[in-house]
Symmetry: D2
Subunit: 286 residues, 4 copies
């Protein structure tokens, strides 16, 4: 097993108090708040992303997710709307005071991704070292997904490429690993979350949707992730999952997202954290 060299920037001992990745609008990942990022797998149309953004804002989540440049296993699958998708995503988010997270596949897409609060490095690119080196040179927050066959050590070493290259604004995201179990798309590895929180000072969030690959497990896994010590979630929600062009079976419906937030709140409290909610939501809630 490849071991992280002593003295690596990613190790907890280099910053024992932990890293807080600060996004616009006072949204902090890795601090006291538990942050839920939600939205569809892919931006499909203006109507779809507007409705999704509405559901995300209504649930009180601060960050809208949605893929525009999509890495798809088959060249014949929907490849995303590209630049137009980014524009639709940003517009839907701005209208509701939401931040945006979306995936970057190649440095050439960066101009189109201006305005994105958090750039996602996808699971399949976790060891795309050319991409890591290019993104390490940016002064922009990054989210690094764990590869489906990457050990925790390899994941942290991939993060080390970003830190060593000069970018310390890194959020880690566990999204399930490949195993023999076929009831779920991947096996969510919450041990990796507990372990990563000890090994590194970087924030760690969890994507229960890609891990499970099925809607009915997402809430249970989200509660477990919060209890395990994760700093937030990246969760799929779609206004009409039955019509989704990508991964509809794992997307929550808007009512599920509200239910998730309702059930998350006491668990997050039980481990000494606060669930981040939009101010209007907090008012409504009171």
């Amino acid at each position: 097993m490849q071991q992280i060299p002593t003295g690596s920037l990613v190790l907890r001992e280099t910053r024992p108090s932990g890293t807080v990745v600060v996004l616009p609008g006072r949204v902090e990942v890795g601090g006291r708040d538990f942050v839920v990022m939600a939205g569809p797998c892919a931006v499909e149309s203006a109507a779809q992303i507007e409705d999704a953004a509405e559901a995300v804002a209504a649930a009180g989540c601060p960050i809208l997710r949605g893929g525009a440049f999509k890495p798809r296993t088959s060249p014949y699958s929907f490849q995303g709307l590209g630049e137009q998708g980014v524009r639709l995503l940003l517009a839907a988010a701005r209208r509701r005071g939401l931040l945006v997270i979306t995936e970057v596949l190649d440095p050439s897409e960066l101009p189109a991704l201006e305005g994105v609060a958090l750039l996602q490095i996808g699971a399949r690119n976790m060891q795309n070292f050319a991409l890591l080196k290019a993104l390490a040179r940016l002064d922009r927050p990054l989210l690094l997904k764990r590869g489906p066959a990457a050990t925790v050590e390899e994941w942290l070493l991939a993060a080390e490429y970003l830190l060593a290259g000069g970018n310390g604004q890194v959020v880690l995201c566990e999204r399930g690993i490949r195993t023999f179990e076929s009831s779920t798309r991947n096996t969510l590895d919450l041990s990796a979350v507990v372990l990563a929180k000890q090994r590194t000072h970087l924030p760690v969030i969890v994507d229960p949707s890609h891990a499970a690959g099925r809607r009915d497990l997402v809430i249970g896994l989200s509660l477990a992730a919060a209890a395990a010590g994760a700093d937030g979630l990246l969760v799929e929600v779609h206004p009409r999952p039955g019509e989704a062009l990508c991964d509809g079976s794992q997307a929550l419906m808007p009512a599920d997202l509200r239910e998730l937030m309702r059930r998350l709140s006491p668990v997050v409290h039980a481990v000494g954290r606060e669930l981040w909610r939009a101010p209007q939501q907090l008012m409504v809630a009171k």
Copy 2:
């Protein structure tokens, strides 16, 4: 993938309200209470099991675990104290009003296992169908561990052998599956817990100790298991882990067990359950 046949006894629809396995002393697994079973991997000596039992009772847990008939990978590893181990285990438990769970490897051991509240079928015997068929004929509660390479469907079908053979007092136990990840001994699969709770009416508990194989992850994983909807835990504790003859590196110390119980309580509440505590503990706690 092998599918559970429609109409199988193990399926949730055959008993939608769920099965509660009732143990002596009003300890119920699968009901409102979250039940923590704790103790060493193996009974090693009278002094060791007495000290372990004391720690378990002091933490307020109702059930003492400890192996007497041990399945060991190597024939040269400590194979357990056998019948004498069972006697020491039962004596230590009775002195403190604790129940006992221990593993049965072969039906020939059953006479020696009189007085054991919960008979454990180990992970390596999950598909030992001769053993399953023999235990199915008993009127005694059983705990069925998931095999390290068993799918959830296979695990439930192994339980079906017990139910179909006439024994409905079955508790399931997730204890991690084999994957490529080498930072942990196994990969705890909490998706399996969420899924099993939906698929079947049987109680489901979690063994975070064998899953992690390391003490420092046990509390985090225990909290996650409770939030995921598990009905209890099977956790290793040893009075002096450094001297353990078996799996010492994954055993909590007595103080860790108290810390676990302290931190479990609010998480269990947050998901609408109660942490089972011995009455004296409840009094002490108030």
Copy 3:
């Protein structure tokens, strides 16, 4: 990873020249000959096993396989014909001068298994230590399948239970491990064969049928196994796979078995071995 202790009986250095397991009729496993054992997954009827035995004898293979006591994932699957199955199997074999290999699930079945040349310990029982200890006391040849989630070290340690218990007539059998790949039932691990041949003096054969779970890969994998240094094969053949009660999709048809033997012969020669063929076959072939 559990390591085999120095001085273990299973290690190559305790018998550098290698163990040859001698079966009746001068059939030797682990010597110069490459031995093919073939037959159906389960004995289903007199007609079926007679036809299967005929195909096996016609192809020149010395050993007939067939399950009578069957370990099945579901209690509602065909569980085998038991003692009657053994009788049918032995009768079909004797009529054609074939030896018999079949699985033993429990020591209580041993009286019924008199006359069986090679007792198989199935993959799911590789770490059923009660069974291993009972079989170790016999003076009868055993075949120990690798568990689908067992490391090579664990497999050899399971064999050590047999050797340490007094039975050195042990043949190992690799039959695929559990991985994420879903095109095949299991992933045949031929590295384990190369490695086991170096680590231990015991003969090692390969079951390509359970590994692949599909007929169309069996011949290719069989040739690969021979080239990797295996001492033989355990392969499924069924006179009418479409009617099989168990694993029909992975069974060769009689013509496939002849094709397998035809293509195996030059590969076996290329690695300095001889393909065992019944004398009449050798005459026919000349």
Copy 4:
């Protein structure tokens, strides 16, 4: 499981006779010849690559491998000599009439890779779709390694990106998958080779060195790969493995490579192929 859509270019039925990838100097991959590509993991110095090339030529192999742009798990590991490495590699090869295969991590490296006969897409980049799309536009032969956690279907769909993008000169390379087995670095999946040869018309070769991660298994696995129907090998050889900067423990020594070629020849013949040998070698051999 993602399925390859009917009509995909990669499927065998679109070109039943099979694709032969023709390299300079009449070296054909996927035809009658079995082609061995050998060399060190990384180009380390002029002396090292010259000695390696000498060993490769002396063994009669037509193609020299060596990494110049290296994807390394840790940013602190040796990252390869880059452009200078390519120059050394090409020079060492030309002096001996060898062709060159080396890895490309990013399209920006292509100018430096002029003169390379076969461009390797590494296992970690198998689903780097930006890279696949860029290389698909070239009129140069490509080698696509299977990702360590990719199913066969995903691997072929990655190849489909290349074919659909206009580049049909694609060689597939199996190099082991990630499993729980820890005796080997990865688990070589020869079922995938047998299966890929049926599913697709593209040539398939095997890298036993990365799969095994240890020298002592390489020859056995190479013979097995040839018997399974592979079209060639990509194997590591280093003049002084003890001094290697990268993966020395899996590199053959020059004498091992000659031994490999000597033992491969009869196995390749046994399956109806010819081992490609440099003409001078053929003369020497006679």
